[in-house]
């Protein structure tokens, strides 16, 4: 009987899920509300899924089919990540054969049902399981805070390798400019738009003697960064503040003092591209963390204008940008006389796209 209810529910839901029209950020469609209600009703009563005997492996294939039928992106990975998470592993490859062929308990099946239902609403997997890995860290992720992207991991390794090379120049105590600073031997990072704190926490984790200031416009982002810092036990080296780089310019310069490196993954999506983004992004992530204005450079320009005032001499700026931006930034810098910033290099990401800009205070 419940099977009939379930299949009826699916028939009802299917057209809703297949609608391809765009949604504005955080607005709900009535069809969706209906679908949610239906699923909620179903989950209040254990359905056949929960009562049937199922193993981890069976569950993965079962939900993979459901995701495929409902047009969810990356159905296999979504299914694997959610079920591994419920079974206590990070990926399906971390789980032993025995764990995957064991019969699932009712609680586990209920949890899988709840999480997969969220995924059926195009909620990103990272929000569904409320965590994700970045470099060597595991971070707590909560909507609507921006989810760290794989490209940003490369930004971190770029900063690390650049600093390691320049260690003698940048952090040596002999350098006249910093003998006054009591933090001469310890790099100070500034991250603008920290989100979940991925970049700044990775840097603090790698450079054990470093300090950092992380700012974000959104209060939720700042709170999440603080939470993650505490989980990773680096909170004593981090100052997380809710500041807007454009409107709180003066305040920021006063707080930061002299910074060795500015690093940022600022919102860089061109405004016209916003509506073409995936439903996972549009419906759940904070649009302000993505929208960079008409040319995508709104926040980037603000950061670059701020940079010479907070950076130490020869300090560097590392940015993640849209592939069209490096050229645009270089042109803008040439036009902007009086800005004490030199464009040093553009680095490509693993897909070969121009992704990272490196500038230096001259």
């Amino acid at each position: 009987m419940w099977w009939k209810v379930f299949s009826a529910c699916r028939v009802y839901l299917a057209p809703c899920f297949r609608v391809k029209s765009h949604y504005h950020c955080r607005s709900e469609d009535t069809g969706f509300l209906g679908a949610v209600a239906f699923l909620n009703a179903l989950s209040r009563n254990p359905c056949r899924f929960i009562h049937d005997k199922m193993t981890g492996i069976n569950c993965v294939t079962y939900w993979q089919k459901i995701f495929e039928e409902n047009g969810i992106s990356e159905p296999q990975q979504s299914s694997e990540h959610i079920i591994s998470h419920v079974l206590g592993g990070k990926t399906i490859h971390n789980l032993t054969e025995e764990a995957l062929s064991r019969s699932l308990t009712t609680e586990q099946k209920q949890m899988i049902w709840n999480l997969c239902s969220k995924r059926l609403h195009h909620m990103p997997v990272q929000y569904v399981i409320e965590e994700w890995d970045f470099c060597a860290l595991t971070l707590k992720i909560k909507p609507p805070v921006f989810i760290p992207r794989p490209e940003t991991e490369e930004l971190v390794s770029l900063v690390v390798s650049e600093l390691a090379e320049e260690e003698d120049v940048l952090f040596s105590v002999e350098n006249a400019g910093w003998q006054n600073s009591h933090r001469a031997a310890r790099p100070l990072f500034l991250e603008i738009g920290c989100g979940s704190g991925a970049i700044v926490l990775s840097l603090l984790h790698f450079f054990k003697q470093s300090y950092a200031v992380a700012v974000d416009k959104s209060a939720e982002a700042v709170n999440l960064t603080r939470q993650n810092a505490e989980r990773l036990c680096v909170q004593h080296r981090l100052q997380a503040l809710q500041l807007n780089v454009i409107s709180d310019f003066q305040k920021l310069t006063r707080i930061c003092g002299s910074v060795d490196v500015i690093v940022s993954n600022p919102p860089y999506v061109f405004h016209e591209d916003m509506s073409g983004l995936m439903p996972e992004i549009l419906r759940y992530e904070d649009c302000d963390a993505l929208d960079g204005g008409t040319d995508g450079l709104k926040i980037i320009k603000a950061i670059l204008q701020l940079a010479p005032t907070v950076l130490k001499d020869r300090g560097k700026v590392f940015l993640e940008v849209d592939p069209r931006h490096p050229e645009m930034i270089q042109n803008w810098l040439q036009a902007c006389t009086g800005l004490q910033l030199t464009y040093r290099a553009t680095h490509r990401d693993i897909c070969g796209k121009l992704r990272f800009c490196e500038l230096q205070r001259s």
């Binding site: 490859h93 990272q126 470099c135 995936m278 992004i281 992530e285 592939p323 796209k353």
Partner: protein, 424 residues
Amino acid sequence: MEHGLRWFISNSLRRQGHLGRTCRCFCRLTRNITTCRQTARFWLSHLPGNVYRPQSERHCHNDFSELLQLEAVRKYIDDLKDEYKEIRNRLNCIESREEDGKLLSRRHVRLAPLASVLEELQSSEKDLFELESMYNSLKARDDQELIPLVLEEQQQLNKSIAVLRGKLLQTLVQKEKHDESNVILEVTAGRTTGGDICQQFTREIFSMYKHFAGFKDWNFEVLNYTPSDYGGLHHASAYISGENVYRFLKYEGGTHRVQRIPEMGLSSRMQRIHTGTMTVIVLPHIDEVGTKVNTNDLRIDTFRAKGAGGQHVNTTDSAVRIVHIPTSLTVECQQHRSQLENRKLAMRILEAKLYQQVGTRAQSERIRTYNFTQDRVTDHRINYVVRDIKELLSGGRQLNELINKLLESAENEAVLELIETRNR
């Protein structure tokens, strides 16, 4: 008693020189004493292993004594002893120039353990000789009280001498360059006409090595696991790290043959035995600086989004595939959720594969046959037969014994070869 034993063991490890002379309990333990980690769990796990120790010791005692009785071996050992004395004298007397001094001291370091073991062996043999004479005199006097004690003492001394002989042999054999490295283990199912016996067998072998790693207190990290239908394993790979992993696993590389009646398919109904194979590849992971791969030779494949990527896309696909273009060697990794971590791991595996020292001949060599219907495993290199396949596949003591046998015979051969080349 256990507590006292533990205290005693940790103390005696610090005083390694007294290997042959100290307490009887200590003598009962494994001969690999100096290479073991000081964990209580390890010692405790070996205490109940007494049942097997005397057998294997007796076996190796025969081998080593035979070897040591060879004229050539004795002469070789004596030569080394003389060399050591000479070097010591020269280092003491002459304040030689830097070059000579360095070479000499290096050779001194190399020979020192040998000399110390020899000394202990000699003193133990002397003790044994004294004991024998005491026994004879006691027997003459017919002293019933002391005779059993003397006999017991003799037994213990014999055992310690066997241990020392084993140590001597180990010091004679030059340690292979990569013996201490961690290892990347790969298993691949072969082909057969008998249904999926190869895939099932591959799965059993992989879990055997997993349990063996646990037995030896090594870390077993699965890199890749590709199952096939009906629960078999198509291919898998793992990174095993710990102490001297390569030394123990290097003889596992090659083709393992299986003979069994398949559970699925036509042949199972007819109960006909089929033969299948699977390959095991063991690669030492060499962690040397300067052996980095040129990034221009690599093609790294990851999830590629259409369009701009980056902030425009939400993805959980962090799988990485690295292709080394000159050799078309491919490594895939999807072990982690972080793409960077997957990439680092894939690079590690690629480096190990590129700098592997294992000969290609070993891959096609049929090294072992597992006959399920007759419940025996034969290793063709030393013609050693093991009963009870289930026990062997559980990756515990049986497998450890088999591997130790292989090591012994390899070491024996190495010593003989060493002497031959010296005499030429």
